[in-house]
């Protein structure tokens, strides 16, 4: 079976700001993702992991190479790839409910159907009772829950997450990880969304992903690709198991080298 998502020779360089050579943000990268898999991409900041994700989303274009989703080349953004951003991107003029309905509305679904679908996902992310709140009336964690519900309600084939919990405090972040993982594990193994989750938090990468990809310092390339030897569903207590700490230690070493390399490059 051919892989669900194929990234082939994708690189990205940015035009120089004033003369000089273009900056290479991402080296030619190959990566395949199987359907229903949860893959986390781990790397120091500025390593091009977000760039890679944005290219898969269609929000950015590769300088070379191509991305295929289910055999079709990605040319631009689309509803088949839902995304949750690090910044709070709820539409401030829409209530929680209407934010969740945004994509459904765009598809022209009848209002009653929209509301029914939205209500289900609002319940899933634990925001029942907040349907008529505006984003500014919500905490950061609640805003990201809404953003998750908004992406899921649209029924995408893939979920792209760009450090979605990065701006949240530590406790909220852990709860959000469990929430997302719980939703993902709640589906039958063959019905689970394919998730690509970018983070710089090692705990997060290991706890959530069935597979962790480590990227090098800028210009980014894939340095390491590991299966996480912990079966789903996972309880948060797996974070203290030997399998978890062992993998974490290995990844920590790898990421540390890259962070040091990144800092050395800045001097």
């Amino acid at each position: 079976m051919s892989p669900f998502l194929t990234i082939r020779g994708v690189s990205r360089s940015f035009a120089p700001t004033s003369g000089g050579a273009p900056t290479l943000a991402l080296q030619a990268t190959d990566l395949t993702v199987a359907e229903n898999d949860f893959i986390t991409i781990l790397g120091p900041s500025g390593c091009g992991k977000s760039t890679l994700l944005r290219i898969v989303a269609g929000l950015d274009h590769p300088s070379s190479g191509e991305v295929q989703l289910a055999g079709k080349r990605i040319e631009g953004p689309g509803a088949d790839r839902g995304m949750v951003f690090q910044s709070y991107t709820l539409f401030p003029w829409l209530t929680v409910r209407d934010n969740v309905c945004f994509g459904l509305n765009e598809r022209g679904l009848p209002r009653a159907e929209q509301l029914e679908l939205a209500q289900g996902f609002i319940r899933k992310v634990g925001l029942t009772g907040f349907e008529h709140h505006f984003p500014k009336q919500l905490s950061g964690g609640m805003q990201q829950r809404t953003a998750l519900a908004r992406a899921l309600a649209n029924g995408p084939r893939m979920l792209l997450m760009d450090e979605p919990f990065g701006a949240l405090d530590h406790q909220t972040r852990e709860l959000m990880q469990e929430l997302l993982l719980g939703i993902w594990e709640g589906d039958e193994a063959t019905a689970r969304k394919t998730v690509m989750f970018v983070t710089h938090d090692i705990d997060e990468a290991v706890f959530m992903g069935s597979r962790v990809v480590v990227m090098s310092a800028r210009p980014g390339r894939i340095k390491l690709d590991r299966e996480v030897p912990i079966p789903h569903p996972r309880h948060y207590s797996v974070k203290t198991t030997p399998a978890f700490t062992e993998l974490k230690a290995e990844l920590m070493e790898q990421v540390r080298t890259e962070v040091l390399a990144a800092q050395a490059a800045m001097v």
């Binding site: 689309g78 509803a79 910044s87 991107t89 003029w93 505006f134």
Partner: protein, 259 residues
């Protein structure tokens, strides 16, 4: 007093009203006290008395109506034309590149300087008054609307794309609703400017309107009537301002959150 410390609502109203009272008291002081001659400045009581006469005996209400109609008419036309162009310029950069330099130039053309030309082209009827207000507000509106629309947060646009929005959907469902409260605020500001243009238009070649009454009163040295006319404009401006603010709060409650 500490910088930026908010003030209670009741105190705010009291302070605002107090200044009006002090201002009027000062005016009454210098006029009744004989410091300023009545020829140059009428006293407040005299002003109110001739205002009453103007309204009851000289049909000033009709003048007010004419002026309001002209402002609102010219401003509505300018808004109707400026909204689509401003949104298109904010949303589509080639459209902006095409119109922006000219509009930037045109906005510095003083509307009142067009009056002689407009009289030549449109006569001294209503079309000329509406045109002055149109010229005075249209270019300002276009530029300001374009800036607000163009400043839409990029991440909101990207989020909408990943939710399957089309290009037209981005304009209709992200750029316009996101910019709406600020566009409303722009309308409020520019309407204030439109009021100054209408009076200028009415000072020259008009047979009705507040500006026309003011020119007539000038010939008679009736400072009481002139001041009454000016105050009427101020009051109408204040009322329309409050109306806009009220409507803004009602229409866009979300924009006021977290301020």
């Amino acid at each position: 007093m500490k910088p930026l410390q908010p003030v209670a609502h009741g105190t705010r109203v009291v302070l605002g009203v107090t200044f009006f009272i002090l201002f009027t008291a000062l005016w009454a002081g210098v006029t009744f006290g004989g410091i300023v001659s009545k020829t140059f400045l009428a006293d407040p009581v005299q002003m109110l008395r001739s205002g009453w006469v103007l309204l009851t005996e000289m049909g000033f209400a009709k003048d007010i109506g004419m002026t309001v109609w002209r402002v609102l008419g010219g401003f509505a036309l300018a808004t109707l034309a400026a909204l689509p162009l401003g949104v298109a310029m904010g949303a589509y950069k080639p459209v902006e590149a095409f119109f922006e330099p000219f509009v930037s130039f045109a906005r510095y053309l003083p509307a009142s300087a067009f009056i002689p030309l407009l009289i030549l082209w449109a006569g001294i009827g209503e079309a000329q008054k509406l045109s002055v207000i149109f010229i005075g507000s249209f270019f300002q509106l276009v530029l300001m609307i374009a800036v607000v629309v163009g400043n839409t947060r990029r991440d909101l646009v990207e989020a909408a794309y990943t939710l399957g929005a089309s290009d037209a959907g981005i304009v209709r469902r992200v750029l316009i609703p996101g910019a709406a409260p600020e566009i409303f605020e722009i309308l409020r500001m520019v309407l204030g400017w439109a009021w100054t243009y209408v009076i200028v238009a009415e000072l020259i070649g008009a047979s009705s309107g507040i500006g026309h009454m003011i020119t007539d009163s000038q010939a008679l040295l009736a400072t009481d009537q002139i001041i009454f006319g000016i105050i009427v404009i101020g009051v109408i401006g204040l009322v329309s301002d409050l109306g806009f603010k009220w409507a803004n709060r009602r229409l866009f409650p979300w924009a006021l959150l977290g301020r």
